[in-house]
């Protein structure tokens, strides 16, 4: 029971604070869990990894959960992962059952979070044990598979792959790292950039730029509209919440949490996909599908159990393979990098204490999330009324702090923030996919090492097909994900033709 010694008052306070701040970020439309984690990352520098992760995991769970508040009260998803919560949550609010809808969503969120935590605890060590046998060849194929899966589930496979490959290319700017066997030569840049870009663009300013600053630019381009509806928020005094609402919902809870956790396992696929997929499955299996969209609690349960199911699921590939499951867990890589710890197959066995502390932190984050939101829901609901003219400048300032402090005070990192903030806005404008871009950016340097070193060692391209049976299975999965994507786009084309 060594891990009990890590539950210090500071550890609990950090989880609690993270959850509260996360809920605030999630509850304000336009701000996301990803932004919350990115902006608060600099605070973890001096906390140590265990306490730092406690804060960040609280932010993650709180951020994903907070999105349900405006989704139900204002018909605006606070985060993309709450999109399907609006379908039935808002009609309940219109009927005067806002408080009941919120409490249904909070219970479902708790269930989804705890379900995915159990999956994380059981599945990540097993996957990591298996992945230890991987050589550079299989590691390269895993990254290739991650990119194809991500692209297959993007709104357009071509755009998804393009965005991922662009992320890889941008990550290669700078010197070919000598510490991992490179020759130290520069590429993809001009000579005058060497003082700034010898190590390439720093990960965190890039992340904060595309997720933080670009969101502010999108808001600014849209005129920074205040939520006019926020002033007249009413939770209502209609039908009271009763736990009996969940009678008959167990299969929906398990199915939705499973879908969310599975979607979390897939790299780069966000919570919005989990939310919509679970909602449509709940509707398919329901005896009263016509009630959906009119304020049916089953729809809220499906959406919220699945998006919180994402949290544990997305940590599985991160902690067992070093591949982030979503954009928020991509930022968590930054926390590990800061403390000099590499996530991958050896992480769990080599850092048991940190692994246990993460599980405990996730457990407490879910419990705190439930307690805060259930008992203080009337106060939480007021968060959506905080004006953006106050919030957005503070967030921009925090983006600057995060970028500047990441490498202990380099002004170029602050300019990187601006460059990638503008890039994020441009990507939004022309329809590039940010999640594949970021996953490509994170995995690009590893992909290069695995690919080039495999060729240097074996001297033949065929090694990627013949190295082991695992390579064969990975190629089958790659082919399946591409096939699935083509089938999905053809099915969508047929559907469009019919309608």
């Amino acid at each position: 029971m060594d891990f009990l010694s890590m539950i210090t008052p500071l550890f609990l306070v950090l989880i609690f604070s993270g959850t509260v701040i996360g809920i605030i970020f999630g509850a304000v439309p336009g701000m996301t869990a990803t932004m919350a984690v990115a902006v608060c990352l600099p605070l973890t520098y001096s906390l140590g990894l265990e306490n730092g992760l406690a804060l960040l995991l609280g932010l993650y769970v709180g951020g994903i959960s907070g999105g349900l508040v405006p989704a139900i009260l204002l018909n605006i998803p606070g985060t993309p992962s709450s999109i399907a919560t609006t379908f039935d949550g808002y009609p309940m609010t219109q009927r005067g059952e806002g408080e009941s809808a919120l409490k249904i969503a909070i219970f479902a969120s708790l269930f989804g979070g705890l379900f995915s935590l159990i999956v994380l605890y059981l599945f990540a060590p097993a996957l990591a044990d298996f992945a230890i046998q991987f050589s550079y060849v299989e590691k390269f194929l895993i990254i290739f598979l991650a990119l194809t899966v991500m692209a297959a589930l993007s709104s357009s496979m071509l755009i998804g792959i393009f965005s991922g490959v662009l992320g890889i290319l941008v990550s290669l700017i700078g010197a070919y790292d000598v510490s991992v066997g490179g020759n130290g030569e520069y590429r993809l840049m001009f000579g005058f950039m060497e003082p700034y870009l010898s190590g390439g663009f720093s990960l965190l300013p890039v992340l904060i730029g595309v997720f933080g600053l670009s969101s502010i630019l999108i808001e600014a381009a849209g005129g920074v509209p205040e939520n006019e509806g926020a002033a007249k928020i009413a939770l209502g005094h209609g039908k009271k919440f009763r736990l009996s609402i969940f009678r008959g919902e167990w299969s929906n809870l398990f199915r939705s949490a499973s879908i969310g956790t599975f979607i979390g396992l897939l790299p780069g696929v966000g919570g919005s996909a989990a939310s919509i997929m679970s909602y449509s499955q709940a509707k398919t299996f329901s005896k009263t599908p016509k009630e959906f969209g009119k304020g049916h609690p089953t729809g809220i349960v499906a959406s919220e159990a699945s998006n919180n199911g994402l949290t544990g699921g997305a940590l599985v590939p991160l902690l067992s393979l070093g591949i982030p499951g979503d954009s928020t867990t991509a930022i968590l890589i930054g926390a590990f990098t800061l403390q000099g710890i590499q996530v991958g197959p050896l992480f769990i066995s080599g850092n048991l204490e940190i692994w246990n502390s993460m599980i405990v932190a996730m457990l407490f984050a879910n419990i705190f999330m439930f307690a805060i939101m259930y008992f203080a829901i009337r106060h939480i609901a007021k968060i959506v009324t905080v004006p953006k003219y106050i919030l957005l400048p503070i967030i921009l300032m925090m983006c600057v702090v995060g970028s500047y402090t990441i490498n202990y005070g380099i002004m170029f990192d602050v300019w990187t923030l601006l460059i990638f903030g503008l890039f994020g806005y441009l990507a939004y404008l022309i329809g590039l996919e940010i999640a594949p871009f970021i996953i490509g950016f994170i995995l690009g340097p590893s992909a290069e090492i695995y690919f080039v070193k495999s060729l240097e060692s074996f001297g033949t391209v065929s090694i990627f097909f013949t190295k082991s049976w695992i390579a064969g299975v990975l190629w089958l999965l790659i082919a399946a994900s591409i096939g699935l994507s083509i089938w999905m786009s053809m099915a969508a084309g047929r559907h469009n033709d019919e309608t």
Partner: protein, 141 residues
């Protein structure tokens, strides 16, 4: 990379830094061609019919955000150099930046809202500066 006897390849260590970027660039080029080939109607339509960016956006708030941000980034190290290792560059530059950004984003600039923006601009950077530079011992400009 020598591809003369494909699938056998040999990589020269001196030029190994170019192998992967070259392959990725070729792949990116092919994907771009594929996107243009499959979506040329949409892309051409967008080019020919408009409206062209930045029409349709709030130009004052968008370009104002960028301009204020650039000025903020330029001012921070300049002020910081006057008081090395104190983080005052961040503190002194952040207060007017936050105030001007709030004014830019306000839709109705009533006296009450301007006072709230001013209080926020004074308190938020001070709290962040105190927490980060004193409590957490982090470097600020």
């Amino acid at each position: 990379m020598n591809l003369a006897s494909f699938p056998n390849v040999s990589i020269d260590f001196a030029t190994s830094h170019l192998v992967f970027p070259m392959l990725v660039s070729i792949l990116l080029g092919l994907l771009l061609v594929a996107i243009l080939a499959t979506r040329w109607r949409t892309i051409w339509g967008a080019f020919t019919t408009g409206p062209y960016w930045p029409a349709g956006i709030d130009q004052l708030r968008f370009f104002g955000t960028i301009a204020l941000t650039v000025l903020y980034f330029l001012a921070m190290p300049q002020i910081g150099d006057l008081f090395p290792n104190e983080g005052y560059g961040f503190l002194i530059a952040s207060i007017p930046f936050l105030f001007l950004m709030s004014l830019l984003y306000l839709h109705r600039r009533s006296r009450r809202q301007i006072v709230i923006a001013a209080i926020n601009a004074a308190i938020a950077p001070t709290v962040v500066w105190y927490l980060l530079s004193t409590v957490f011992n982090l470097t600020l400009p």
